[in-house]
């Protein structure tokens, strides 16, 4: 398996290409943009894109999907039934499947958006906007933030230390580093106050 990363200027997002070196099939994760440069790169490497993983349906992660599907006959995996005019194969929390000869599992982590999914390929975690290096995804409410942190703790931070976090924005990380150095998991003043209150009551 080979993983390539492409920095998309549209939304400053990360696009990943996961290639199976034996079958020469490839997965594109979050096609924020599908540029000529990326197309040429895929063709130079001799890959045939057979699958697209969409971690969540935000425009700056799927803007290149339509172009990609005009060129490659790929199956789109998402927790949505449709993205734009593309039909998707719906994945749900805990689903395991094979794509391009690789074992994949899907972990639902709602909070940043209701459809947020982490795709786990071996020890690679494509976390989209749910988890970034040092930060958790932005949410619309305190409820969403609490839900996201709980889901991440249960499903992502419980994975082995050397699992690699490949987020939708920013640099890569590993699970051990996120457990220790993620500012999003620091307790807020309100949480600390609540804990103290519960201790005394």
């Amino acid at each position: 398996m080979t993983v390539f990363f492409h920095y998309s200027l549209y939304g400053c997002a990360n696009v990943y290409l996961v290639g199976n070196d034996e079958t020469r099939e490839a997965i594109v994760v979050d096609p924020a943009a599908f540029t000529v440069g990326l197309l040429n790169f895929i063709e130079e490497k001799g890959y045939d894109v057979k699958a697209v993983f969409v971690t969540h349906n935000h425009q700056h992660h799927v803007n290149g999907l339509r172009t990609l599907l005009k060129i490659y006959d790929a199956t789109v995996y998402s927790s949505n039934a449709r993205i734009g005019d593309a039909a998707c194969r719906v994945v749900r929390d805990g689903d395991s499947f094979r794509s391009c000869g690789l074992a994949v599992s899907a972990l639902s982590v709602p909070g940043h958006s209701a459809d947020s999914i982490v795709f786990k390929v071996g020890k690679l975690l494509f976390t989209g906007d749910a988890l970034h290096a040092g930060l958790v995804g932005r949410t619309m409410s305190q409820y969403g933030l609490g839900l996201l942190k709980e889901q991440l703790r249960q499903k992502v931070l419980s994975l082995p230390d050397d699992s690699i976090v490949l987020p939708g924005h920013g640099p890569p990380s590993c699970v051990a580093a996120e457990r220790l150095f993620n500012a999003g998991f620091r307790k807020t003043k309100a949480e600390t106050r609540q804990e103290r209150y519960e201790f005394f009551v």
């Binding site: 398996m1 993983v3 040092g134 932005r138 580093a177 500012a183």
Partner: protein, 199 residues
Amino acid sequence: MFDFKRCTARGCAATALSGDTHCAAHHKTPERYAEAALERMAAMASVKNLNLAGLRFEGVDLSGKRFYACSFAGSVLKNVTFAGSTFRMCFFDFCQADSCDFSGIDAQFCSFAGGTFLNASFENSELVHNNFDGARMTDCTLSYSNLYNSRFIMAQLERTDFVDCNLKKAYFLLSREDGVSWKFSNTQEAIRDMERLEP
């Protein structure tokens, strides 16, 4: 990417060293494995998909090489020079680097999170899109480097220089700084508080 074969030692969840059945912690002779890996690397200009996590390297010259998808996570690096090397998607998480030379490197999309860097030089480097979260840097220099989109969240920086650096979109959230020089750097473009985070 290197293979994610699990270490065969009972109860160990770590990834085995490249071409081996054990991780560095459970390898019978990690020193020999490290020596053999160095011999192999000496003959290569490009080093790809190598997992060297947890090994110890001392007094080694790995300058001018190109590293792709390699892991030095948790490794102990003493007097190692990587000067002028290129790194893409490489991992130095929780490494312990003492007196190492990373000057003039071109590192993109790499992680140095949780690493301890003592007397290390990253001067004149392209450090774009890298993760230094939780890194402890003492007596280090990153001067004259491009740190665009790199993160130093919860990093501990002591007597470390960031002179004339590009700090655009560099995150310094909850970092501890003591004796840090930001001279001639565009500190206004760095992100220092949560309120400035982009949606």
